[in-house]
């Protein structure tokens, strides 16, 4: 499990510098990548509440705001299940709000959107650095560097890291907890950090509640022989510091903590099922296919990374079996591979139950990705070393000698260039439409469309159609209402950012909005097809004037009401005669019953 590196191991300082550099590269890559990424529907909620939470903390710190129940409830809670976004813990929202306040409003260092997204980007840097640290500690610096780069070169993870949402941050804090826990097995002084990081993860997203499912079996496996009492400090740290940090960061838990905790958890236990497309079917009610997490991962992680990870899993399994055969308990004392396996299983496990809501595809089990990337790093290095051994053995004696160490380095660099190079292509090519990113195994975005895989969600791609909308708009002095569909929650922010002209207001939701509009956009997801049909009826045409595409796959259609503006749509035939006892008179033709103003999903 922990093979001794063949060359002198890197010094701790070298490893730390390397991790730091990788983390910085990752943060700046995320910040660069997010510049063209549209505003996700959920982000708009988190922006608003993040600023609200941050203002509350600043008010309390400056003594301008009282610390009472009324003030806390008005900011963080409320009677409704989604009041003040109380269904999600506040850490990342608060950090985003603070970042926006200081780095945009006060110091003017970043634009508003980047400032909100900065905490997520920084945490992704932390994740990449810790992946390097973890893998370096267990399998050598080379494996660490490759693992970290594989983590950076994940198209979906890179995309999520650039949003002011929780999926990137929970991956980072999940893995940070794992890393600290693993260190604390041999360094009790780090135990407090593990517990505190667990608390930060809890304060980020409810996925953290699954972490004990990975940590507890691992703890039992590695501590059983050594004596559980010797490491009792670890469960104590998790049990005490985790909840303490969560409560400290979430004022809503400062009173009636147990009912409020229950409300938080039960919201997610009874979450409504959204629509998602998978292998040609639209799913919005259980039972879901048991293999969604496996197949989606297989089609969204770069193929070369998957290949290297497969090699890594085989290598690690073989080493584990060898170590067991040799009864080499010391060699597997902290069992890092087992920890990574349990982490991936805990992150993905709920999605095998067939009832867990799935609406964001791979983002729900993103905490499993570091395990996969580290397996890729281990696998790549093992393949390079194996190839070097074979080459040296084959090398004719009459030729100049081939130094094994240098051969390993060269082969490792070459293999890494191939694997990570192809991962880089698969990662950066689909941006800024990361939710439409599918790997070569799927055939890219067109292949995934053929397979009937989820096209996108959150309305992010609408940003790519905004320049066309501005071009299509009437003269600047004339108002042109736009049916903005899934981009509706982000519309005012797009206008504030100057991406939508002021004379293009949002026309409002559903059929009434379409009837008010002169331009309309539809974000293509299978269950959103009805928006096309409503627009066809209202505009009297099925022809869009612009279709935003990724590799030929439609993401957003833009329609323009033919001029002169047509009369409101009429039923294709007049209403029928009603016989007593007649029901209410037929309604004007409308394809569906009105949906709530908030975008149905």
């Amino acid at each position: 499990m922990s093979p001794a590196p063949r060359r002198p191991p890197a010094t701790p300082l070298q490893v730390r510098l390397c991790c730091l550099a990788l983390g910085l590269v990752a943060t700046f890559t995320v910040l660069h990548n997010q510049r063209q990424v549209g505003i996700a529907r959920d982000e708009t909620v988190y922006f608003a509440h993040g600023s609200q939470y941050a203002a509350w903390w600043r008010g309390v710190m400056s003594g301008q705001r009282e610390l009472g129940e009324a003030s806390i409830t008005a900011t963080f809670g409320g009677p409704g299940a989604t009041d003040n976004n109380r269904e999600h813990p506040p850490l990342i929202k608060t950090a985003s709000g603070m970042s926006e306040h200081w780095l945009h409003d006060r110091l003017g260092l970043l634009d508003e959107l980047t400032a909100y997204r900065l905490p997520s980007a920084v945490l992704h840097g932390l994740l990449v650095a810790l992946v390097a640290a973890f893998a370096s500690g267990a399998w050598g610096l080379l494996a660490g560097v490759v693992s970290a780069l594989a983590m950076l070169l994940m198209p979906r993870a890179l995309f999520h890291a650039g949003l002011a949402c929780f999926d990137g941050p929970i991956t980072a804090l999940w893995f940070a907890t794992l890393w600290a826990y693993h260190r604390a097995l041999t360094s009790p002084r780090v135990a407090w950090l593990a517990g505190a990081l667990f608390g930060l993860a809890l304060a980020t997203k409810h996925n953290a509640l699954l972490l004990p499912l990975a940590l507890a079996p691992h703890y039992l496996a590695v501590s059983w022989r050594a004596g559980l009492r010797r490491r009792l400090y670890l469960p104590l740290s998790f049990a005490v510091l985790g909840p303490l940090v969560l409560v400290a960061l979430w004022p809503w838990l400062w009173f009636e903590p147990l009912p409020h905790l229950w409300q938080w958890i039960s919201f997610h236990a009874h979450h409504v099922h959204y629509n998602f497309e998978y292998l040609g079917q639209n799913f919005n009610a259980p039972p879901f296919p048991w293999h969604v997490a496996l197949v989606t991962t297989a089609l969204t992680v770069p193929v070369a990374t998957l290949g290297a990870a497969t090699a890594g899993v085989l290598v690690l399994a073989s080493r584990t079996l060898s170590a067991r055969a040799a009864r080499s308990a010391e060699a597997v004392a902290e069992r890092p591979a087992l920890l990574l396996l349990l982490s991936a299983a805990a992150a993905m496990g709920p999605f095998f139950l067939r009832t867990t809501p799935i609406f964001g595809a791979e983002k729900h089990w993103e905490p499993a990705m570091p395990s996969l990337c580290i397996a890729a790093g281990v696998g790549l290095v093992a393949l390079a070393r194996g190839a070097a051994r074979a080459l040296v053995a084959w090398w004719p004696a009459r030729w100049p000698a081939l130094p094994r160490s240098r051969t390993e380095t060269v082969l490792c660099a070459a293999l890494a260039a191939v694997v990570l190079g192809s991962a880089a292509v698969e990662t950066f090519h689909p941006q800024p439409y990361g939710l439409t990113a599918y790997n070569a195994l799927a055939g890219g975005a067109p292949g995934a469309a053929d397979l009937g895989m989820n096209r996108q969600f959150w309305g992010v791609a609408a940003r790519g159609a905004l320049p066309e909308l501005a071009r299509l708009a009437a003269a600047p002095d004339r108002t042109t209402a736009v049916y903005s569909h899934d981009a509706s929650p982000a519309w005012r922010r797009y206008q504030a950012l100057g991406l939508v002209p002021a004379n293009l207001p949002d026309a409002g939701p559903e059929l009434s909005g379409i009837e008010r509009s002169e331009l309309a956009l539809v974000v293509h997801e299978r269950h959103f097809a009805r928006h096309d049909f409503m627009i066809w009826q209202a505009y009297g045409t099925v022809a869009p004037v612009f279709v935003l595409r990724l590799d030929g796959v439609p993401l957003v259609s833009v329609y323009r009401r033919p001029r002169p503006a047509q009369a409101p749509p009429q039923p294709a035939s007049p209403p029928p005669q009603q016989q007593p006892p007649a029901s209410p008179q037929p309604q004007p033709a409308s394809p569906q019953q009105p949906q709530p103003a908030s975008s149905p999903r």
Binding site: H273, N275, Q281, N282, N284, A285, P446, A449, D450, H524, R526, H527, A529, R530, D532, F533, W536, Q537, G540, T541, V542, A543, P544, V545, F546, V547, R549, D551, G552, V553, P554, S557, P571, A572, S573, P574, P575, P576, Q577, Q578, Q579, A582, S583, P584, P586, Q587, A589, S590, P591, Q592, Q593, Q595, P600
Partner: protein, 236 residues
């Protein structure tokens, strides 16, 4: 993947040769928005919301990635031309002659039973596809009878039906049911499940005129807001 220039060339090719009444379709279905971008002016709402393609004597299929269209399944094209990545095919066939269409005759229909809303002719989403259909919502546990007193018949009666609106299909999982009754006899019936999409019913008929009743049921008392959409045509 073909670019816009290729699509423009393919569209020009079709425009030069298409006749009024031709149907133009695109395959795979996910490329439909791009096809409509270039040839949408040749597609009416009725074409887009067709029950099936039987009434069209000529069908153009523009496809990429070797996809085929269900509208012409099993048929041989009369014309084939490949323009870079776009395969243009024209299928010539004997069009079904529509004797009467229930949607057009709806103003003459008599409606009885437990109506929650409708019936009305709409362009609805059924199975994620556009369908021009008669939509009626029976009260939960009830049935609506839509009677056409003098419906002209051909040699067969063809009906399609399904449940409209993805969100009510998600929230209410109870099936609906459609029955066709000719002169008091049920000649075709079908349960309409939430995942069934747009399903076909058919029956042989004797040419002439008869009373046709379409019965839309929401059999379960939990089957609220069951938006039953149907299209019924008699064909010669």
């Amino acid at each position: 993947m073909p670019d816009d220039a290729t699509w423009r060339r393919a569209a020009a090719f079709v425009r030069e040769r298409a006749r009024p009444g031709d149907l133009i379709t695109f395959a795979p279905s996910w490329i439909d928005p791009v096809g409509r971008l270039h040839l949408g002016e040749h597609l009416s709402l009725e074409d887009a919301g067709r029950a099936d393609a039987a009434r069209y004597a000529r069908v153009w299929v523009l496809s990429i990635r070797d996809a085929s269209s269900a509208d012409v399944a099993g048929e041989r094209p009369a014309l084939t031309s490949r323009l870079d990545g776009i395969l243009v095919r024209r299928y010539d066939r004997t069009a079904a002659v529509i004797v009467e269409d229930a949607a057009r005759s709806l103003p003459t229909a008599q409606v009885t039973g437990d109506v929650a809303s409708g019936p009305q002719v709409v362009l609805a989403e059924v199975g994620f596809t556009p369908r021009r259909c008669v939509q009626v919502v029976p009260a939960a546990g009830g049935a609506v009878r839509i009677t056409f007193p003098r419906f002209a018949l051909g040699s067969q009666l063809v009906a399609y039906a399904g449940l409209a609106d993805v969100f009510t299909r998600r929230d209410i999982r109870e099936p609906g049911r459609l029955e066709l009754e000719l002169a008091g006899q049920v000649i075709a019936a079908r349960e309409l499940g939430v995942d069934d999409g747009w399903v076909r019913l058919q029956a042989r008929t004797t040419p002439g005129v008869a009373e046709l009743t379409v019965i839309a049921r929401a059999p379960s008392p939990r089957a609220h807001r069951r938006q039953i959409c149907f299209a019924v045509e008699s064909r010669r």
